[in-house]
Amino acid sequence: MPPTPCSICQRERAMLRRPKTLQRLCRSCFYAVFETEVHQTIQRHGLFKRGDRVAIGASGGKDSTVLAYVLKLLNERYDYGLELFLLSVDEGITGYRDDSLETVKRNRDQYALPLKIISYEELYGWTMDRIVEAVGRKNNCTFCGVFRRQALDRGALLLGVDHIVTGHNADDVAETVLMNILRGDIARLQRCTEIMTAGDAEGAVRRSKPFKYAYEKEIVMYAYFKKLDYFSTECIYSPNAYRGYARAFLKDLEASRPSAILDIIHAGEALLIRADVKMPTQGQCERCGYVASNRLCKACVLLEGLNRGLPKLGISGRASVPDGPAVSAKQP
């Protein structure tokens, strides 16, 4: 096949087909449209204001690495006036997180951004390695998801930041919409498509997803072409089977119709929950003060189970105790 010219500049050789628009683009036009779209998302939704201190939830994976790179670039290019930080959670997973944290440390040096690492060990007294020893491999993702969400907030408080950005991309959001439908989790279904969640007085920091409309393929290709240093190994404990099925289903849909991902996000955004549907009210955890929809927050319930040697506490899926910021928060 003869090389295809770029559909924007008509000059350079096209290197990829964008799933979102089916345009054939050369490297530099792809960089330009990708970066500009993220900038427009940030502007349109008013994610930042000048002077904000912003922590990038950094796992060393492709999404957060590209996010750190692009946000630093846009902050300089468009003079957002942000102070950027890298914030990483060390779950204590030998052979996985220790290696990915090395990547984050290299990113810290490559992008000259300050890095804060906060560990499950220091926050909860448990590493994921020990949790898995205690609870087995079936439900450990629940612990990890719940603990990570809170850990990022605690880390943000320590850094004194106003805002956490995560690398969740369009595929992640669409997948979460599907999962919340499959689990009948109406409250999360409503929240999960929001690009930004408000902070509150109880210690949850404002969060946003600047890549909400960026396809995973674009992020991977961006990282590949730019030769960004990222870590791409599956978590050794990860068989989060349910999410895996949702992801595989979504990828099948995308293969037959690339717009499926944005369509699902759009469907999620357009859902209106009837006013008479009873929603959980968000209060404060009696023990630690974190946001909770019950007397105790999910992390405290899980932790109590671990410490009392009853690790099933809090994960025997009763409808009133839905088991998972594991669902609302795929790790960034």
Partner: protein, 87 residues
């Protein structure tokens, strides 16, 4: 991906001699049978790559190169990138 290929990042291969060129369609099952060390279902689905695996031919998205029908030439570099893992 490295996991599936015995931790190897780059593999140089000599395809068996035959009349005419190899297409990607023929290459995939050859890789699966000869090079893959574990879990072939994470690499292929039906006669193509599993959705979520990106394929590049000399750094160009295979969607621009005819996908399965692309005729492999001497010295081509075929890259597989899995997107199916968390952060």
């Amino acid at each position: 991906m490295e996991l599936l290929f015995d931790q190897q990042h780059t593999v140089k291969v000599q395809l068996p001699a035959k009349e005419g060129n190899f297409s990607i369609r023929e290459l995939l099952p050859w890789i699966r049978d000869k090079l893959l060390r574990e879990r072939p279902e994470l690499f292929m689905q039906g006669d193509t790559v599993r959705p979520g695996v990106l394929v590049l031919i000399n750094d160009v998205d295979w969607e621009l190169e005819g996908e399965l029908e692309y005729q492999i030439a001497e010295g081509d570099r075929i890259t597989f990138i899995s997107t199916l893992h968390g952060g």
